[in-house]
Amino acid sequence: MRHTLAVLVENNPGVLARVAGLFSRRGFNIDSLAVGRTESPDVSRMTIVVEGDERVLEQVNKQLHKLVDVIKINDITADEYVDRELVLIKVNADPAQRGEVMQIADVFRARIVDLGRKTVTLECTGNDGKINAFEESLRPYGIKELVRTGKIAMLRGTKYTGLQENGD
């Protein structure tokens, strides 16, 4: 089963190497990993999607906790949360096809961010399923290039993954 972990880490150099190294060393499978700064400049947040059964997840959790730079781990899989991923897709679209491509973009509420002579570059955000569907719809036209950010996620409502204890 896929789990989504929200991990707060010290914003130190090398912290990504420590986390990534831990996953490869212990044979844990990372589906995606997104990292960026948070509301406090000395804290970064990693959203890690990891595949594994309960025992594997327990080990992932405990081993991550052993890293001195890891401050807090929250497995939000079972909670209500919003998640987003951003994708950039450069797709073949000569002038004759552009209309169709733009219609698809419309359906997915994607935006055109660049226009070439024979290609269109689209930006789309959404959850996993939406991004996958968007990609599939564009595939017939010929995808030249595709890049995904990896998922970021946040708990719904008043719950949060922060440095302070959760009041909820």
Partner: protein, 555 residues
């Protein structure tokens, strides 16, 4: 007043009450050595950086303090890696300093540059590359705290040369606040109560005690627990010496080369009380048949060890000493004899045996004699191989912490430098190194360090002219096709000892052992005893790979 970061480093070590540093100088760490020139801290110059880290490790195990070592950048740093990994696997507190090329050259493949923080991420509890000199005192404070608390381990600090030269205002913090590092010491009261209930109702309990008992200095509590509930105790290799070797409740070591009594007790128990142990593969054998009918209570300071290899029914995260104290307050004296009768029957039926009187000196005999001569009171350091297992089987440890050996990593060459560190930490004690002819040759340059430091080490080489443990493995797993295990050339160890000014003996028979070993151990100075022992001897019993520990055989 401003001082250089290198001078600040030395002041920090003085504040941490470091007595001794094991090290080897070089270009990138020149400034730190210059700062040491005026310091009262003793510096022990080793002959190879691996010697420095093993010595710091031996010192830490012998004294319970944090071991400190240092080396220069590049090869100096990489030579430390084996020893750092060794300390990591056995949970030994070390603070390791390495010099680094100046920050302007970091990442340029400069002379003697390696990414030592990158290399050591998997084998350190934590590590630091110091980029800002002002941060150095804080980093050192944290390093000592991280190394010594929770589950202990090595911490490395990499110091670029220009940072070492930067002048800072010295201010040593007196407290540590690491928001990502807060070990749990007190076990959960509900879980402890549950453990007490299970102990109360168990018919066939076994205590399985590991190195955590020694790390948390809980030997007395372990003894009280065993005697209160009348449960037999087995030690892991790392746990040896935490329970008296001659106690009637002692089963000996369990696992791959464990006693049959210990392995049978674990296999048939209904309650396994695991204390500061980690269900290592050398202990469990075939996992599915390890303590198959037991409810498992597992006490460990490292939550990641609980449930890692076996399913645990009562997990207790905490310091084993504190947990045992709480547990003991909830226990009543138990007096169930039928299980202990069964244990006693196994011990009688399956004693450790070897055949004597075959014209050759048996290595086990030498260990038994060592034990007899000093009554199990010496500090015994070993290397890795057959001799190590014979020490584990035949030496009856009396004092907690009196076995110093490489358990998890199994590092041949650990013995001599670790003995150097142990003897420096315990100057008044009898420190005996039991080693093999293979292991000693991996780090025997440290004889120079031992002599320079005037250490009265007693070095016992069980010399069978063969890499005995590998030979045994080839006998069992490769149909006796012996490949690259026989030494066709050896130095004359007596001449070698003489070259270093060490008194030496060569013992070939039981009679010579009886006559000369007491004299050798009683000599005031360093002694090297070369025991020419039977080459065909195997460590028995042995659990074949993939088998259950109850299925041990002799080979």
């Amino acid at each position: 007043m401003e001082i250089t970061a290198a001078q600040a480093l030395v002041k920090c070590l003085e504040k941490e009450q470091v007595e001794v540093i094991f090290g080897y100088p070089g270009g990138a760490i020149l400034d730190v050595y210059d700062a040491l020139y005026h310091s009262p801290i003793r510096h022990v110059l080793v002959r190879h950086e691996q010697g420095a880290v093993h010595a710091a490790d031996g010192y830490a195990r012998a004294t319970g303090k944090v071991g400190v070592c240092m080396a220069t950048s590049g090869p100096g740093a990489t030579n430390l890696v084996t020893g750092i990994a060794n300390a990591y696997m056995d949970s030994i507190p070390l603070v390791v300093f390495t010099g680094q090329v100046p920050t302007s050259q970091v990442g340029t493949d400069a002379f003697q540059e390696v990414d030592i923080t990158g290399i050591t991420i998997p084998v350190t509890k934590h590590n630091y590359l110091v980029k800002d000199a002002v941060q150095l005192p804080r980093i050192i404070k944290n390093a000592f705290h991280i190394a010594a608390t929770g589950r202990p381990g090595p911490v490395l600090i990499d110091l670029p040369r220009d940072v070492a030269q930067t002048r800072i205002k010295f201010d040593y913090p007196d407290s540590v606040n690491l928001r990502g590092y807060k070990p749990t010491y007190r076990g959960h009261p509900n879980k402890i109560a549950e453990a007490a209930r299970l102990i109360g109702s168990a018919a066939r309990p076994v205590i399985y005690a590991g190195g955590g008992i020694l790390n948390s200095k809980a030997s007395r509590e372990l003894l009280t627990l065993a005697e209160t509930i009348n449960a037999p105790v087995t030690n892991t290799f790392m746990g040896l010496s935490s329970f008296p070797g001659d106690h009637p409740l002692f089963l000996g070591m369990l696992g791959l080369h464990g006693t049959r009594a210990a392995n049978l007790a674990v296999t048939n128990c209904d309650l396994l009380i695991a204390l500061g142990a980690r269900f290592d593969d050398r202990v469990t054998g075939k996992l599915a048949e390890f303590a198959p009918n037991a409810t498992v209570v597992h006490v460990d300071i490292d939550p990641a060890e609980i449930g890692k290899n076996v399913q645990v029914h009562v997990p207790i995260v905490g310091d084993v000493k504190q947990v045992l104290r709480e547990l003991l307050s909830r226990l009543e004296k138990k007096q169930d004899t039928s299980w202990l009768e069964q244990i006693e029957a196994w011990k009688k039926q399956y004693p450790l045996v070897y055949r004597r009187g075959e014209g050759e000196l048996k290595p086990q005999y030498v260990i038994e004699k060592l034990n007899e001569i000093n009554g199990g009171n010496a500090v015994v350091v070993t290397d890795v191989g057959q001799h190590q297992m014979w020490v584990a089987q035949y030496y009856r440890f009396k004092r907690p912490g009196s076995l110093i050996s490489s358990g998890g990593l199994g590092t041949m060459g650990f013995g001599l430098p670790a003995a150097v560190g142990a003897q420096i930490g315990l100057p008044g004690e009898l420190v005996i190194l039991v080693t093999g002819d293979g292991s000693i040759q991996m780090t025997m340059q440290e004889l120079g360090t031992a002599m320079e430091q005037e250490l009265p080490l007693k070095i016992i080489i069980l010399n069978n002219h063969v890499l005995g443990m590998v030979r045994q493995l080839q006998q069992v797993y490769c149909d006796s096709r012996y490949m690259a295990v026989e030494f066709k050339f050896h130095p004359d160890f007596e001449t070698l000892a003489r070259a270093y000014g060490i008194k030496s003996y060569t013992l070939r028979t039981e009679k010579e052992v009886d006559q000369l070993l007491p004299e050798a151990l009683g000599s005031p100075g360093p002694v090297l005893v070369n025991c020419l022992v039977c080459a065909a001897e195997n460590v028995n019993p042995i659990v074949i790979a993939g088998k259950a520990i109850s299925e041990a055989v002799d080979c």
